[in-house]
Each structure stands twice: as structure tokens, then as C-alpha cells.
């Protein structure tokens, strides 16, 4: 397929040969450019969009599906995809919320929510490994199972912790420190970005990350290299589940309640963020930073719709069109960069 060659070449990645040392032109340059262009355009149209406070709020309020997207990179790097993330998020949030309703200390309850999410991830993992099925098939089932069970326990009513004045809730909505020129930075935004850095390191600087990428690149070769396939697969699904649970608990903290529908729409946004960010479905490659930028692009688009005051009837269409434009910019930058890379490579040989 045409794009296969494109991918092939894009595998030429940012690294170019300079004798033996290598200079890194980040993969994520393209999406980043797309993001900057979007933000600029909207900012020019309406200055108040680019006020640091607003941009930080934007990051914070999109950090919930964002956190899940970051972890999902690992799954796509493995060549898999999890459809159940949205309802895992919802179910975990509901459990955390119910725990608080039943008087558990909010911090403990939040921890419980995280563990619960991890547990649901473990369920996905064990089913996938046990039945030797692709994750997409398994999560097709657990998608409805998590949703259904969540409905049963929340009695399809919003779960509202009685007292949301505690330190947990205040922190979740707080601007924890303030920067010059920028002002207060929301806790959620900090957590989101910090997590992105951590997961980036986990994927590209640890043996675990290397194993994930190796399996995604060539599962059979990984087996022959003695990499534990099943275990790694389960671990990645647990990681994704943990992210869902974590996002869920944060959600309870910052909203002080969980609606039965919360997170139900996450799936498409998560996948969109990850692949717009530059992680292919085919596995063996993945960029957490790209996913971070992908999340911001999606957030910016929906916000831009509002700032441009685009009529509700047109907003959906515009969203789609802008996505196409954004990925085109990404491609354009990739091509440009590839040409430069070749030129520099040749100069050194």
C-alpha cells in the first residue's frame, strides 16, 4: 500500500548517521508543528485563547482521556488495541466514588480505584493470554461487561461522594504552583505532563519498554530471544488498566462525582490521539510524546470550534476537516525532514 512505503521511509526516523554519533531530529516534529499552527491560528483570531491560564485549563480538562492515551501507546507498540478503556475508566471511577460514599478515606478510595483499574486490565490480559486471542476481540467483550457491571453497581445514578471538601478533592482542582508570566499551574496538567515523561522513559529507556517494542516488531523473533511474550502482554494491559483507574480516580477528585456515562465516549478520542501522535497500529513503534501532542491537538480543535464561535451544525464537519489538515501537516513535515536527513547523511559519507 502506498502508505506502507511511506511508513517504511518514515522508519528512517529522525536519526541520521553522523560518523558514529547520531543527532536526533524528533519524530514528533510534524505533529508538534501542526499543534503550533492550530494554536497560533486560534490565538490570532481570539487572543484570550492563548492566555496561559486558558491553555493550562485546556490541558487539565483533557488530561483524563489523555492519561489513558499515553498508556495506550504501549499497547499499540505491541500491535494490539484495547476497546474497553472508556468503561474501565468509568467503572474504576464509580468504584472509587462508591468507596468514598461508604465513608472510605478519599485518598484510600482513590488508591482503590487505581488498583481496581489495574485489576480490570489484568482481566483483559488473562483472557487474551488464556484464550490466545487478540486483545481487540477480548476487549470487545469486556467493553460491554465493564459498562454493564458499572451500571449495575452505580444503579445508573451519578455517584456523588457526600463530602468533597477533603484534601484529595481540593488538590485535584488546585493550581499547585505558579510560574512567572504563566500563573498558577493546575495539578491535573502537571500530573498529565509528568506522566508523559515517565512513560516516555519507560518505553525508550527500560528493558520493559524494549521488550514491548521488540514483541511488536517481530513476535516470533522475540520468542526466540527468550522474551516472555505472555507476561509482557499481560503487564502492558495492566499498565493500561492502571492508567484508566488512575484517570478515573482523578476524575472523581476533580468533578466530585461520576456520571454513569462518563468515559463512554473515550475510545475514539484515545485512539485518535495516539495515532495522530504518530504511533502506527502495526506495532513495533510508539511515541508517548506524540500521543501527548495528539491529545493537545484534539483538545485544541474542539476548543477552537468554540473560540471561532462555529455554529453547532457545522462544528462536527470542521472537526473532521481540521484533523485531516493536521495529519497532512505532519506528513508534509515528515517528508521535508526526511529529505534533510538524507542530505546531511550524504554529506557525512
Amino acid at each position: 500500500m502506498a502508505h506502507v512505503e511511506a511508513q517504511e521511509q518514515s522508519k528512517l526516523s529522525g536519526r541520521v548517521r553522523l560518523g558514529n554519533l547520531t543527532s536526533r531530529i524528533p519524530e514528533e516534529l510534524g505533529v508538534f508543528a501542526a499543534l503550533v499552527i492550530l494554536v497560533t491560528i486560534i490565538g490570532v483570531h481570539n487572543r484570550s485563547f492563548v492566555r496561559p491560564e486558558n491553555l493550562l485549563d485546556l490541558i487539565a480538562s483533557n488530561s483524563f482521556f489523555g492519561i489513558i492515551a499515553l498508556a495506550t501507546v504501549f499497547l499499540l507498540a505491541l500491535g494490539e488495541i484495547d476497546l474497553s478503556v472508556g468503561w474501565n475508566f468509568n467503572f474504576s471511577a464509580v468504584i472509587a466514588g462508591l468507596a468514598m460514599v461508604h465513608g472510605v478515606n478519599p485518598w484510600l478510595a482513590a488508591g482503590l480505584g487505581v488498583l481496581f483499574g489495574a485489576g480490570l486490565g489484568l482481566v483483559n490480559g488473562l483472557l487474551a493470554v488464556g484464550l490466545q486471542l487478540p486483545v481487540i476481540i477480548v476487549t470487545l467483550g469486556t467493553y460491554s461487561m465493564f459498562q454493564g457491571l458499572s451500571l449495575v453497581v452505580n444503579k445508573s445514578a451519578a455517584v456523588v461522594p457526600p463530602d468533597i471538601t477533603g484534601s484529595f478533592f481540593t488538590l485535584a482542582n488546585k493550581r499547585i504552583f505558579s510560574l512567572p508570566y504563566v500563573g498558577g499551574v493546575p495539578f491535573l496538567a502537571v500530573v498529565f505532563v509528568a506522566l508523559a515523561v515517565v512513560l516516555h522513559v519507560l518505553l525508550h529507556r527500560t528493558r520493559f519498554g524494549y521488550r514491548v517494542l521488540a514483541i511488536g516488531s517481530n513476535a516470533e523473533a522475540a520468542r526466540l530471544a527468550g522474551i516472555p511474550l505472555a507476561r509482557t502482554r499481560v503487564l502492558v494491559l495492566v499498565l493500561v488498566g492502571t492508567a484508566c483507574g488512575f484517570a478515573g480516580s482523578l476524575y472523581v477528585g476533580s468533578f466530585g462525582s461520576v456520571d454513569p456515562a462518563s468515559g463512554g465516549q473515550f475510545l475514539l478520542a484515545v485512539v485518535a490521539a495516539v495515532i495522530i501522535g504518530g504511533t502506527p497500529l502495526s506495532g513495533g513503534m510508539g511515541t508517548v510524546i506524540g500521543a501527548l501532542i495528539g491529545v493537545l491537538i484534539i483538545a485544541t480543535i474542539s476548543s477552537g470550534i468554540v473560540f471561532f464561535g462555529i455554529d453547532a451544525t457545522w462544528s462536527t464537519f470542521v472537526t473532521g476537516a481540521v484533523i485531516i489538515i493536521a495529519v497532512s501537516v505532519d506528513q508534509a513535515v515528515k517528508w521535508q525532514r526526511r529529505r534533510n536527513a538524507e542530505r546531511r547523511a550524504s554529506r557525512t559519507t
Binding site: 485563547f49 486558558n54 485546556l58 480538562s61 459498562q147 445508573s156 468533578f255 454513569p260 456515562a261 464561535g309
Partner: protein, 351 residues
């Protein structure tokens, strides 16, 4: 649809226990949940089985299939919300075969059945007027933002029409903007709307999750804005109680769940066919800090009482049941016993 198996109403022996199907959209939505609960209560009171089915979102074809399957599996009558005209042909086919069907919550003029639901325009005009008053009544001026979760969805279009009517002239009304139905997206949509329009005076959302999120944002902004929305959800009540929200319009979901079951059962037992069209108002609930004004001369509800309803269905059953029992009356006890007398032209539903 395959429906010949079910025993037509006419041949139904009165003492045999009836089975009534109840098909909703948005399974798991708190409002829908209240409607379902009411249908169950009606089933208990009237001594019939109530089978409840529903779709996750808006899926007319799927809902129609559920109605057909319900009759195929032996239901004697079905009440369903009409999430789309796609259901009309199939439902009319069943109605033509003599199957009793009642529409609730959302209707289609093409379906030849009676409808129980809100009086969108008139009811939401109340909310519009309340906001106007708060903005300074006659002398009011300034910017009002309106948000919708389903752009162009007929029922919501009517609500917006009502809001605008209530707000009257002289205000700068912007929108409707798409603030989406997803609670998380909804929050950031309103957040961005406020950031984009810092000078707005009032924010009105016509869907269930709007006021809750508006309340949170308003709290962050020192309650600078007048906010209003719909439905008596816990979140909305909290927002109003906390003084972050002005008013919420309810549509008395309990009546929308209970009455259709009663209508069908009455029709089957009295062998008197349902009206081919028509509208029965479920009644407006006006939720403000002072409490909830209920329709049909029901006593005023305290926010605490409404909260109690959510956790203990028995209370809400006890509260609404009087409407459906005893001697027919205009208000209060017995107000909906003789429901046939309350049937209005369907056009009133969107007037």
C-alpha cells in the same frame, strides 16, 4: 416484524397476567433510570409484568427491533421513546395489527399512538423568564450563551425555542453551541465557552449534565454568571443548593414512566383502544434554591426529598402514586386517573 405469536389484546383473558414492554434510549442515564423505576412501580401497582429494554445511545432501528422482539416474545403492549422517525413505519405496522403502543419522552408525529412527555417550549420559557428576571427584568441587557448536547435534535430545538421566548428581546443571545453529551467533554466545552466569552452574563444548557458542570465553573469564577439547565440530577441540585446555579427545569420523569404503563393496561383491560394520536403533559418541575415545584398540584419538594428519591425509590413511589389512584380529580390525588380527559392535540407538545 415477526409478531403473530403474541396474543392480540382482544383475546386476552382479563385475569391472565399481562406483560408490558418498556423500551428506552440512553440506558443508564439517571433521568431514564427514574422513568424505568416508575414503569416498574406501575407494573407492581397494576399487577402486570414490565419488561424493560433499552439502547446505549440514540439508535432508532435497534429500539424498533426491541419493540418487535418484545411482541414476538409475547408482550401484550409496549411503551417506547421515539428516538427517530425510522421507527414510525414499523410501529404503525404493529399498531395496525392492534398492538397497543404508547410513546414517551420523545415522540414522532408519524407514529399513530399517544405521547406522554414534556411541553418543551412552554416549560422552558419559564426557565427563560426566570433567567431574564435575574438579569434585571425589563431593563435586562447583556450576553446569554446557550448550549445543546445534540445540535438540531427536535426536542432540544423546542427547548431552545422556549428559552429564547422566555428571555424575550433586548438581550444578546449567542448559540446554540455544541457542548456534547459526554460529561467530560461537556465540562471543557463550557470552560472554553466561558474563556471565549468572558463578558457573558448568563449560561443556559438544555441537557442534563450542563448545569452540574456550569455550577463547578461558576464556583471557580466566584459565581460571576447566572446559570440554568435541565433535570433534577444530584449534580444539578448540588449546583443550585451551592448557589452556583439559578434554576433547573424538570419534566417529571416519573409520570413519563408510570402513565404509559397505566394507559396500556387500562386499554387492554377495558378493551377500549388507545387514542391514535394526542399528547399528555408529564408536567414541568421547576427546581430552584427554594425547592422543587411539582406539577398537578403535588406538594412542593425539598431538595433533600429529591435526593432521598434517588437513593430510596419507595419514597418517590409513595409521593407520585396518588396521582394515579382514587377518584378522578383535576389536581392532586386522582389527577391522572382519568387520563383520557387530559389528552391534548400532539401539536401542543412543541408549542
Amino acid at each position: 416484524g415477526g409478531v403473530h405469536a403474541s396474543t392480540p389484546a382482544a383475546r386476552q383473558a382479563p385475569e391472565a397476567k399481562l406483560t408490558i414492554g418498556f423500551v428506552t434510549h440512553f440506558v443508564g442515564n439517571p433521568f431514564i433510570r427514574q422513568v424505568e423505576q416508575a414503569a416498574r412501580d406501575a407494573g407492581k401497582d397494576l399487577g402486570v409484568n414490565v419488561k424493560i429494554q433499552g439502547t446505549a445511545g440514540f439508535d432508532p432501528a435497534a429500539q424498533l427491533k426491541m419493540v418487535q422482539d418484545l411482541f414476538a416474545s409475547g408482550a401484550d403492549g409496549v411503551s417506547t421513546s421515539i428516538t427517530g422517525d425510522s421507527m414510525a413505519v414499523g410501529l404503525n405496522k404493529l399498531i395496525a395489527e392492534g398492538k397497543p403502543i404508547v410513546e414517551f419522552n420523545i415522540f414522532s408525529t408519524r407514529v399513530k399512538a399517544p405521547y406522554v412527555g414534556e411541553r418543551s417550549v412552554v416549560d422552558w420559557a419559564i426557565l427563560g423568564r426566570a433567567v431574564r428576571a435575574k438579569m434585571g427584568g425589563k431593563s435586562a441587557s447583556g450576553k446569554v450563551l446557550i448550549g445543546t448536547c445534540a445540535p438540531g435534535f427536535p426536542a432540544l430545538v423546542d427547548r431552545i425555542k422556549g428559552v429564547k421566548r422566555g428571555l424575550g428581546s433586548g438581550l444578546q443571545i449567542k448559540g446554540p453551541f455544541d457542548v456534547t453529551g459526554d460529561p467530560t467533554k461537556n465540562f471543557s466545552a463550557w470552560q472554553q465557552l466561558i474563556a471565549a466569552n468572558p463578558d457573558a452574563k448568563a449560561l443556559i444548557g438544555v441537557c442534563a449534565q450542563d448545569l452540574e458542570n456550569l455550577g463547578k465553573l461558576n464556583a471557580q469564577k466566584g459565581d460571576r454568571y447566572i446559570t440554568a439547565g435541565g433535570d433534577p440530577t444530584l449534580g444539578n441540585l448540588a449546583a443550585i443548593a451551592g448557589g452556583h446555579g439559578l434554576i433547573s427545569m424538570g419534566q417529571t420523569g416519573y409520570v413519563q414512566g408510570y402513565l404509559p404503563i397505566k394507559m396500556i393496561v387500562d386499554a387492554l383491560r377495558t378493551k377500549k383502544a388507545l387514542p391514535k394520536t394526542g399528547f399528555i403533559a408529564s408536567g414541568a418541575e421547576v427546581i430552584t434554591k427554594s425547592g422543587v415545584v411539582e406539577p398537578y398540584g403535588l406538594p412542593k419538594l425539598s431538595p433533600a426529598k429529591i435526593k432521598a428519591f434517588q437513593t430510596n425509590p419507595k419514597l418517590q413511589h409513595a409521593f407520585y402514586k396518588p396521582l394515579f389512584v382514587g377518584k378522578p380529580a383535576l389536581f392532586g390525588r386522582g389527577a391522572l386517573v382519568n387520563w383520557r380527559s387530559r389528552v391534548e392535540p400532539i401539536a401542543n407538545a412543541s408549542r
